[in-house]
Amino acid sequence: MILPLSYNLRNLAVRRTTTAMTALGIALTVAVLAASFALVDGLRLALEASGHPLNILVTRKGSESELASNFERRVFDDLKFKPGIARNAAGEPLASLEVVTVINLVSVEFPEGANVNVRGVTPVGLELREDARLTEGRWFTPGRREATVGSSIAKRYPEARPGRKIRFGRGEWEVVGVYDSEQMARNSEILVDLNQVAADFGRESVLSSALVRATDPVAHQALINDLEADTRLNVQARSEKEYYAQQTSSGDLIRYLGTVVAVIMAVGSCFGAMNTMYAAVARRSREIGTLRVLGFSRSAILVSFFIESLMLAALGGALGILLVLPVNGLSTGIGSFVTFSEIAFQLRITPQTMAAAFLFALAMGAAGGLLPAFQAARKEILTALREG
């Protein structure tokens, strides 16, 4: 015979202050875990959504990042006619020579300034970024000192809003527009004319990388193999998606910190739950005795108290998830050790995070409820009836 669940529910409701306080303790612990996961997931989702599946990023062999890569113009001239590269309406190969550099901008969050990527591209480079749509103003004009900035940049750096001028290289650049892309990592860049910026930084012949579009998935892999094997070019080719995915490691430290903190807090909350359950067992001693007299078995009592603890934890878990939901969509930035600049992203509470947080709460309830439940089950009928 099993005790009805409503018995536990009513018990929790009767001691509502204690229940609320214990559940809130569990909720806060769950919230810390979920918030750190939200940060890491936000970063991962932003990066996973970035990169076109047919794009290939070509850098100098041995370079882990575009920033560290020195890519010669003559290498680009050789590789752009490789077979397997898609062509645009005008019949030109969809291969873009690019230069990437870093500038320092003062942001709302970091008044000391944060690093931001500036990318010099040609019109073909913009064609390869067809996902980027203008939300404000226009694209920069080739040959002019103009910049079109990503939406995250415009949002986070007051200096880089349309109409303002940013200083880098050999002078000022006017911000003429803002673009937005579903490929979120792209929104953390400032796009300018390739030749202008290359001249400013003295990199007319040594640039950073090339972005090429393959005609189809088969050609994509073949082109990567072809480029990698070409000793004359001495380049490293990888899928653009892979390049972005690599940068998720920036979130490792936060994930680690969040998990450690949550686990330590969980031990504390577990003790709290244990306290509450022991008190419940002590207070209901006579009740337990009565239940036993009525014919409920020891195991039924054990299960009942264990379930009550799980209910308490479930309440805490649900509360914790509610507490942490407002951070969903909050935008923040983290440094990437690949691009040496900031990637802006939004915190994301995924269903998986919610499930993990809830399970985490249940685990706390289980650990905290087991011993008190055993104590309740072990009580002798006569002593139980006499207690309290």
Binding site: T17, T18, M21, T22, L24, G25, L28, T29, A31, V32, A35, L39, R60, G62, S63, E64, S65, L67, A68, S69, N70, T101, V102, I103, N104, E109, F110, E112, A114, N115, F168, G202, S249, L253, I254, L257, V261, I264, M265, V267, G268, S269, C270, F271, G272, M274, N275, T276, Y278, A279, R283, T332, G333, I334, G335, F337, F340, G388
Partner: protein, 387 residues
């Protein structure tokens, strides 16, 4: 004070509950302690180590990735108050396999001779030092780093270039330690760069580190250097080496906000746990309070008894927590040097005081409501009260 034995007796009445509360407090407060110690070390009370206090870093104003012309060194050396200037350059590169995080450590080129005049805290046998200065392909490694990778004097280390178009083939000429903190760095001879980049426009300095004559000169030197190069081809940003290290922090995300939120969540959890315990134990004792009132104890005395018990429990939890936090700090000190502050992390006095303050406040705050409620109960009701 004369009630202290009674308070202790009361606290020990339900030993399991007190023990659970104290342990749960200790665990949460040790976490709070470590977070506060980190926050304190990073943003409030952190002090540069003695030798480091005189070191100043000059770098490109826009970003660390831009190099500075080599001739800047002579000009910086002429700034009043500067004792010595060395140039350095971040080589980066790949050791063995970059995917394994453990293979990441700083690989810097520097003026071999000037290095030891600027880093006076470096301890290295004289013959190793001379061997390093003489060998254009020599390097020295930090002791902790050498232990981790098993480097020994005479070993070859191969670093594949990524920023630079050449590989490093180095010989370990010495192993140094520091009287301040272990910086996990491999320094190699600048001559290697000169030989590899002969006649290349890329032969430039990553930055400069200078040693000021005295700590007081640091601010004036920084200003003078930045003014001198303000309108040059490469404007500079000059700051103490300590501040320079901190500037990398923002790279790890918004650490300030993250630490603050964790502290807040932990404190609130602690408050909930203690409040819960006190509410439970007070409710059990309402009848007893009635007896005390009958015996002539005033309301303030009863509130004092209960609040005192709670404060005692939370202070015990706090003390235990500080002890554990001290242990955790030790563990962090053994870990990787993400920031130099992690290498010297301890529970400083202000952090200790703050932690004790938090425990005391939590203890008092969590007991005040049930205590006052219990003391106010009518004697007759209290005596009749059944739980």
């Amino acid at each position: 004070m004369k009630f202290l034995p009674l308070i202790v007796k009361n606290a020990l009445r339900n030993r399991r509950r007190t023990l659970l509360t104290i342990s749960s407090l200790a665990i949460s407060l040790c976490l709070l302690g470590v977070m506060m110690a980190l926050y304190y070390a990073l943003f409030i009370g952190g002090q540069p180590a003695k030798a480091q206090a005189r070191r100043v870093v000059v770098r490109h104003k826009v970003s660390i990735v831009f190099p500075l012309p080599l001739y800047f060194r002579e000009r910086i050396a002429q700034v009043p108050g500067v004792e010595e200037v060395m140039l350095w350059s971040w080589f980066g590169g790949v050791y063995k396999d970059a995917r394994d995080q453990r293979n990441f450590f700083a690989r810097m080129a520097a003026d071999a001779e000037r290095l030891f005049r600027v880093y006076q805290d470096y301890v290295i046998p004289e013959e190793q030092k001379q061997a390093f200065i003489r060998d254009p392909a020599g390097c020295i490694v930090n002791k902790a780093l050498a232990e981790r990778h098993g480097f020994q004097v005479g070993d070859k280390i191969l670093i594949r270039g990524d920023i630079y178009p050449f590989d490093l083939d180095l010989t370990v000429r010495g192993i140094y330690s520091s009287t301040d903190f272990d910086d996990d760095t491999l320094w190699f001879n600048w001559k290697y760069m000169e030989n590899a980049l002969r006649n290349s426009p890329r032969l430039m300095a990553g930055g400069f580190t200078l040693l000021a004559r005295s700590e007081q000169d640091v601010a004036a030197i920084s200003r003078a250097v930045d003014e001198m190069f303000a309108n040059s081809e490469a404007p500079t940003k000059t700051e103490s080496e300590y501040a320079f290290g901190l500037s990398f922090l923002s790279f790890l995300g918004n650490i300030k906000v993250i630490l603050m939120s964790i502290c807040f969540a932990v404190t609130f959890t602690v408050l909930l746990i203690t409040a819960n315990t006190m509410a439970m134990s007070v409710r059990e004792r309402v009848r007893e309070v009635g007896v005390l009132r009958t015996l002539g104890f005033g309301q303030p005395a009863i509130v004092g008894l209960i609040v005192g018990e709670s404060a005692l429990i939370s202070l015990a939890g706090g003390l235990l927590g500080v002890l554990v936090a001290g242990g955790l700090c030790w563990v962090i000190r053994q870990g990787p040097a993400i920031v130099q502050q992690a290498k010297t992390l301890t529970i400083e006095w202000p952090v200790f005081a703050a932690l004790m303050g938090v425990s005391l406040i939590v203890g008092v705050a969590s007991a005040i409501v049930p205590a006052v409620a219990a003391a106010r109960t009518n004697i007759i009701d209290a005596l009749r009260f059944t739980d």
